[in-house]
């Protein structure tokens, strides 16, 4: 069983990378913390249900394998510089 506090601060629920950082905290102190993953840019709030915050219960269909990100479609494509 994953400890949710450790998960939220260390492992991205979506891509399972240890690239999590605190993005920001609530304007009223102590209410919530927003976390963000620097690999897949998933973000979540500490007060959200576990389906959004816990790597163990985040659904497999929405998981991202970090090695596939570089091959994802580019929209729109980057045009060539004018000469």
């Amino acid at each position: 069983m994953t400890n949710p506090e450790i998960s939220q601060s260390e492992i991205c629920p979506r891509c399972d990378e240890r690239a999590v950082r605190v993005m920001t905290t609530s304007p009223v102190p102590g209410v919530w913390t927003m976390f963000s993953c620097d690999v897949c840019f998933y973000s979540w709030r500490s007060t959200e249900p576990s389906y959004a915050t816990d790597p163990a219960t985040y659904p497999a269909a929405f998981k991202v394998d970090p090695s596939t990100i570089a091959d994802m479609p580019v929209v729109p494509t980057v045009p060539q510089r004018r000469s």
Partner: protein, 471 residues
Amino acid sequence: MAHSDLRDFFSTLEKEGQLLRLSRPVDAEPHLGAAARAVANLTDRGPALLFDNVNGYEHGQVALNVVGSWPNHALMLGMPKDTPVKDQFFEFARRWDDYPVPVERREDAPWQECTVDEGINLFDLLPLFRLNRYDVGCFIDKAVVVSRDPDDPDHFGKQNAGIYRIQVKDVDRLGIQPLPTHDIGLHLRAAEERGENLPVAIAIGNEPVITTVAGMPLAYEQSEYEMAGAIQGSPYRIAKAPLTGLDVPWGSEVVLEGEIIAGVREIEGPFGEFTGHYSGGRRQPIIKIHKVSYRRDPIFEHLYLGMPWTEMDYTLALNTSVPLYQQLKKDFPEVVAVNAMYTQGLLGVVAVKQRYGGFAKAVGLRAMTTPHGLGYCKVMIMVDETVDPFNLAQVMWALSVKFHPLHDIVTVPNASVLPLDPSSDPAGITHKVVLDATTPIAPEVRGHYSQTVDAPAETANWEKIIKEMLK
């Protein structure tokens, strides 16, 4: 009848009993998205929702479902809230023809009240939240995004005001989805060819006409502000954003200014889309925010979208139907009305008076080759001019008794469609179909349609009597 800003529109909604203020404390997730989903589930006459007690904020305000019903849509147009959809359609089409209405430029915008240039944190400013369960994060999905053509920056008409989904990736960094077919996609392409970043202004929290017009498929050189003037019936008020000089709505709650960074693409999505399905992840451009202007205690206006129907369907219903109607009517004046409000016109219904046998099928095929039809119009249902295309009971009647499966299907193989259509395979390609539910006429003589049951005498009079008694 024009509303100067979102707060002015709320005054109208409140007077008409179409605004629900919610002051109970709520967690941003899942409650804000859930409430917006719930009100769409319950009724097509629902109110706007205004939350003012979001946990973690002293004064956080979130507006949802602002145009999420036919009464609210009618009030946006300055019409009585019980105006039937068909009447709203014809009034919208009539005002469309008033384009262009010159803008009113002002220098005293309310959003000039507060500014932030350093240490920008959008989460401090707005109660950002995750809308649907597996969205990648928080989005800004109802803001008017303004940009100019870098090759012709002084051309007012080429300045674009559009609505694009925007992922909040950091406190001052956003992801945006400017598709190559969008006007902003053309601006970005020109900027990147020049090796320049593209300045943008993102205006959040607006009266609903500019939001509606910003979602319209206008021609590249047509100004959304001059069309907003036509739709609201008076010049649209705009003001210059201080950093970029871009023209933004005078009445916005918040104006973010920044630039799309040239050459950068970064993973974005998924996001629960208007097709009722999540879009997948793609690498898309990012925006760095440099300046924020806002009213004190701004209202964060958010669109709920997901499984239809939602506010998005009301917002886009007529601005999809009317352009199709105008374009078809130009070539075929027999077209009476167009209802293209299902999933932004993936399915449409056209009422048309037939010239001769086979005519309705040709009009249905023409709809597929209009600018909007190239990405939509997958299923076109053709009905007689006596059928109200906005009345699904009548449309289903026509399909059930007029449509013959052997004679009345035209299939177009491998046509273009927007890639978000989950049935397209490969994404962006689909067969399309015309279902002709009009009455066959010469030389196409078949079926037994000569003895329709007409209404008893005095029916129209009794409609008036009963309607009056129900008031």
